[in-house]
Structures are given as C-alpha cells and as structure tokens.
C-alpha cells in the first residue's frame, strides 16, 4: 500500500478540486440572475426556462457529453468559431470540462437559489424600497443576506455534484492525466486495470468526502448564524 497516494493520484485530486471549485464559483454567479428571474417573473417563459435548467437532472450524462463534444469539438459550430478566433477547440481540455460541468450542475445551483429567493419574497424588497434602497442596493443588502442558506446549499450541491460527475467528463474530457483526469474517471481506470487497492483509496476518499459534505450542509442550515461568525 505504498503507492495509495502516488503523484498521479495527487494530481488527479487537484484537477478535481480545481474543476469543482471553479465550477461552483462560476455557477453561483451565473445561477443568481436565472434563479432571481425564475423566482420573480410572471412571464409565460418561466416554465420552459425552468424545464431547460432542470434538463441535466433527467438527461443521461453521456447524452449531454455527446452533444457538448459535437458542438465544442474541432468540427462543431462552437469549435469552429473558437478556432477561427485563434483559440483551441474546447474538447479534451480543462476549459471544455468546466463548460460541461457548468451545464451539468446548473440545476443544483439554480433550484436552491430560486427556492431561497421565493422564500424571501417581495415584502423585504418593498420594505427596503420604502427605506430609500435602490433595487440593486436592496438586492445586495437584503435579498442576498436573507438568501444565504440557499447559497450555502447551492455551493455545496454544485461542488459535490461536479466532483461526482463521470459521464460528461469521460465524453468531453478525454481522461488526460494532469489535465482532464478526475477522481471518478481514475477510479474507473484503476478498476479496469484491476488495481483495486488504488481504487479503494480513492473511492473511500470520495465516500468520506460525500459524508462530510452532507454533515456540513445539515449543520450549516441548522446554524446559519454560527456559519456567519
């Protein structure tokens, strides 16, 4: 068991954390306006847009990965565009992985935020307006702090869900060590190569990680004030 955490494994864990961390930060920024719109709009587009956002929940990850590969790859429309702009195609590199993760984990960020904004309701924003707060000011000083539990849930779920993604990564990432190989694909690799000891080490790590996440989430949601200090 000397090689249970070799150089390669450390590299893979780092790529995974980098991917999940970056995806989570971008998702919280990206999901906020979508969730805000879904929580407040009376437009007829609400249901179609909500369904689009929820699509990755029911779509097989390989299907999502396949379409991403087709669009982002060197022969796809976006791939052609990025190459014409002098950039590489996003298939088989870290950027492509981030894009895939953003789409794959989008509902896990949007839905908790939407629930949080709906729970906050219109009233605190109206109160803020009667106290001279501009809409943007009211959003920052009232809606955001009141929606904090939603942000915690969204962050934790997005992070965990990105760490656990497999199908999309396999389709679009290419499993390149140090670049696009993540823990879940490496476990698969170890099992294929009959390296059960290494697979165990990573799998147990993931198990522990998931349990800790759930514990943390329950704890933070029950003590939102302790999380502040």
């Amino acid at each position: 068991m000397t090689s249970w955490l070799n150089h390669e494994s450390v590299e893979t864990v780092l790529v995974t954390l980098r991917l999940a961390g970056l995806t989570t930060i971008l998702l919280l920024i990206l999901a906020t306006p979508i969730a805000w719109w879904l929580a407040h709009t009376k437009s007829g587009w609400r249901v179609p847009v909500a369904s689009m956002v929820a699509l990755p929940l029911v779509l097989p990850p390989t299907v999502l990965g396949f379409y991403l590969l087709v669009t982002l790859g060197p022969h796809g429309p976006i791939g052609q565009l990025t190459q014409a702009l002098g950039l590489a195609s996003f298939a088989f590199n870290f950027t492509g992985l981030v894009i895939g993760s953003l789409i794959y984990s989008l509902p896990f960020a949007v839905q908790p935020l939407q629930n949080a904004f709906e729970a906050v309701g219109e009233r605190p924003l109206e109160v803020a307006a009667t106290l001279r707060a501009s809409p943007w000011d009211a959003f920052l000083s009232v809606a955001l702090p009141l929606a904090r539990p939603g942000y915690l849930t969204a962050a934790i779920l997005s992070f965990a869900h990105t760490v656990g993604e497999f199908g999309v990564v396999l389709m679009i990432g290419g499993n390149i060590p140090g670049k696009t190989r993540v823990v879940s694909t490496q476990i698969f690799g170890h099992v294929e190569a009959m390296e059960y000891a290494q697979a165990h080490a990573l799998a147990a790590g993931m198990l522990l990680f998931s349990f800790t996440i759930l514990l943390l989430m329950t704890w933070l949601n029950r003590n939102p004030m302790r999380a502040l200090s």
Binding site: A128, A129, T130, R132, A138
Partner: protein
C-alpha cells in the same frame, strides 16, 4: 370636501374587484384615516401613494413635489421621502433592532424639508431603547411593530403611511400600541395616512376621516364632522354617536367627577385620573342623548346642554329618528322615537336642550 390641502391623491386604477377612483386633498398634519371594509381599495390606494403599485392614471403630490403625474412623472418608491409601516412588521431578519432602524438612515440624504425628528427621539418616543441589540425573533408582536414604526420614522419622512399596523396583533397588543400612535400624532408634525377597518382606531386616532367603499370615496372631512353626519356611514362600535375632543378642566374630588370643556360646552364625567389640561376624546352615543324643549329641572341627568336642531332623519329602526344637534361649534346626535319628534314638534332651527345620560372616554 376640502379642496385645499398640501397632499393631493387622484387615482383611477382598475382592479379585478373594483375600480379605484379617488380625488382627495388631504391636510398636511395629523392622522388621516382611510376607513373601509376589506376590498374597498384602501390598501391599494396606499400602495399607489408609495409607488409600490403603479396606477396608469394618477396624480400624487406631497408638499408641492410631484411624486406621480399620469405616465409622465413616476418617482420610484425609493426616491419618495415617505415612511411605510406594513400590516406585518416585516423587520429584516438578518439585522438586529438597531441595524433595522438605521437601515434607512444611511441611504439618501434627508430632503430639504426634512422633519425635525432625531433618531434618539424616535427611539425614546416608541419606548424601544432597551431592545436595540435584540434580534427581531426575540421580540413580541407589539415590540416588532413599534420597531417597524421607528424604522419608518428614522428616515425623516414627509409622509408616513400605515397599512393596518395593528391588524396582525391581538387585542392586548393593540392596546399596547395605540397609545404610542397617539403620542406620534401629538408630538410629531408628520402627516400620516392610516388605513384601518377598526372603529376603535378611528375614534382614538383620526383627525381627518376618509370613508372608502368599493374604490369610491363615500365621505371625507374632519373626523367629528364625518361621524356626526345625519346618515352616519361610519358607526363606531354598536351605535352611532358624536366624537368630541375635550380638555380636562376641573376635578371634583368629593364626587369623583371631572369637568371637561369642548367647543360648545362642558360635560361632567367619571374621573379616570387624567390631569387637568390633558386633551382627551369622548364619545356621546346617539342613544344616550334625549331632547327637551324646556330646560329640564328635577332630573338626575347632570349633563344638559343648549342646542339647536339642525336636521332630522329616519333611523334604521322604523320607530326611531336620528336628530342632529348643533351645540356651539360641535355636533351631537340624538336617537329618539319618531313619535317624540312629532309630539315635541321638532323642526330644523329650533332651540332645545340635550340631556346626555352617558359620556364614554375613548382610550
């Protein structure tokens, strides 16, 4: 109705249940109560004044500055120098009491005509100095509503809007807050628009009364005038009656009575310990007033006032009539039988004596 007044509210706003159609000029001081049943449009009207609803056709002018003029001028809520107290206290749950009160203070420069109300005096006036470091969840319902009122006042509004601020409270809490609202009226110079459907709040607080019914103004004017109309639209409690503003003049320690004066005469009532000079409100119910054409002698009734008959109308009960009496500058209502009207030969302009059997102090 008053065509002067520094506050103009002209609205036409189609709602699913009614058409809100009002054209009001309101006084720049004291409490104007918007009174009406639920669904009469009073909350919608208040929200339009605040800019929380946008009526397509509306003119809202306060102290010479135009807040809305149809489609051409529309100040968003946060640019209007107003305070708003919602039915539920709606304190910000993530801030403590002091932070809630200071929220509006740091935002926007106080306007040129800012009211001379300091934060300390607001905190003092509402008796919340001891609560400043508490969280909203640690307050009682009544305390929360007092903090919400303080928060609205702290922004130095030119107009304070209150939307049934006592409706979410039980009877005990209402009694706890009513005196504070009375103090606000007496000590601040801010005009207030106060929405309610509770008669006791009208009796206690209103200086000016507007009665709304399905989006229309049915009556409007100084509260004593509206209440003593011959066909009262607003019946406070279980009977029609007049509301008089009085000041405590003299105590009769021996008989535990107190003499109060009002524009039109004096009354004796039970001494409840109010100090001389204090302003109070009393109600004289129509059913407690009888009429004599000559000055009654040898009667147990202590309060007998000379009046003139102004008008006589049939009451809801067929056998009864409602007589409107002018007593100096004040108006009293008397409910007597129609047979008595006939046998006394009462007609408008006649000099009579009003015998008042009971006077109720409003608290």
């Amino acid at each position: 109705m008053n065509r002067e007044g520094p506050i103009q509210i002209t609205l036409q706003f189609a709602r699913p249940e009614f058409l809100l159609d009002v054209d009001l000029r309101l006084p720049g001081t004291g409490i104007t109560v918007l009174f009406g049943a639920s669904g009469s449009g009073k909350t919608t009207m208040l929200r339009c004044v605040a800019g929380l609803e946008r009526a397509p056709r509306a003119i809202v002018t306060v102290n010479g500055s135009e807040w809305q003029h149809d489609g051409s001028v529309f100040l968003p809520t946060w640019r209007r120098p107003l305070g708003y107290v919602f039915q539920e206290p709606s304190l910000f749950a993530h801030l403590n009491v002091e932070q809630n009160i200071r929220y509006g203070l740091s935002r926007g420069a106080p306007s040129a005509q800012a009211s001379p109300v300091s934060l300390d005096s607001v905190i003092e006036l509402l008796g919340i100095a001891g609560l400043l470091h508490r969280k909203p969840t640690e307050l009682s319902g009544g305390e929360r509503q007092r903090v919400a009122i303080a928060r609205a006042l702290a922004t130095r509004p030119q107009l304070l809007l209150l939307d049934e601020p006592l409706a979410s409270l039980d009877q005990l809490r209402r009694r706890e807050i009513l005196p504070w609202l009375g103090r606000l009226r007496d000590e601040l110079k801010i005009p207030m628009l106060y929405v309610t459907h509770a008669a006791d709040e009208v009796a206690r607080l209103a200086d000016y009364l507007v009665v709304l019914d399905r989006g229309r103004v049915r009556a409007g004017g100084p509260v004593s005038e509206v209440l003593s109309a011959i066909n009262p639209l607003v019946v406070l409690g279980d009977d029609a009656g007049a509301l008089l503003e009085v000041h405590i003049a003299e105590h009769d320690r021996r008989w535990n009575l107190v003499r109060v004066a009002f524009p039109g005469g004096e009354l004796w009532l039970r001494d409840t310990g109010l100090p001389p000079g204090q302003i109070a409100r009393v109600r004289v119910l129509a059913r407690d007033v009888s009429i004599a054409t000559e000055r009654p002698t040898h009667t147990s009734i202590q309060n007998i006032l000379p009046c003139f008959v102004e008008s006589i109308a049939a009451d809801v009960e067929e056998s009864q009539s409602l007589v409107r009496l002018r007593c100096g500058e004040s108006i009293l209502l008397a409910r007597i039988t129609s047979r008595a009207v006939d046998s006394l030969g009462l007609i408008g302009g006649m000099a009579v004596w009003a015998q008042i059997k009971a006077v109720v102090l409003v608290d």
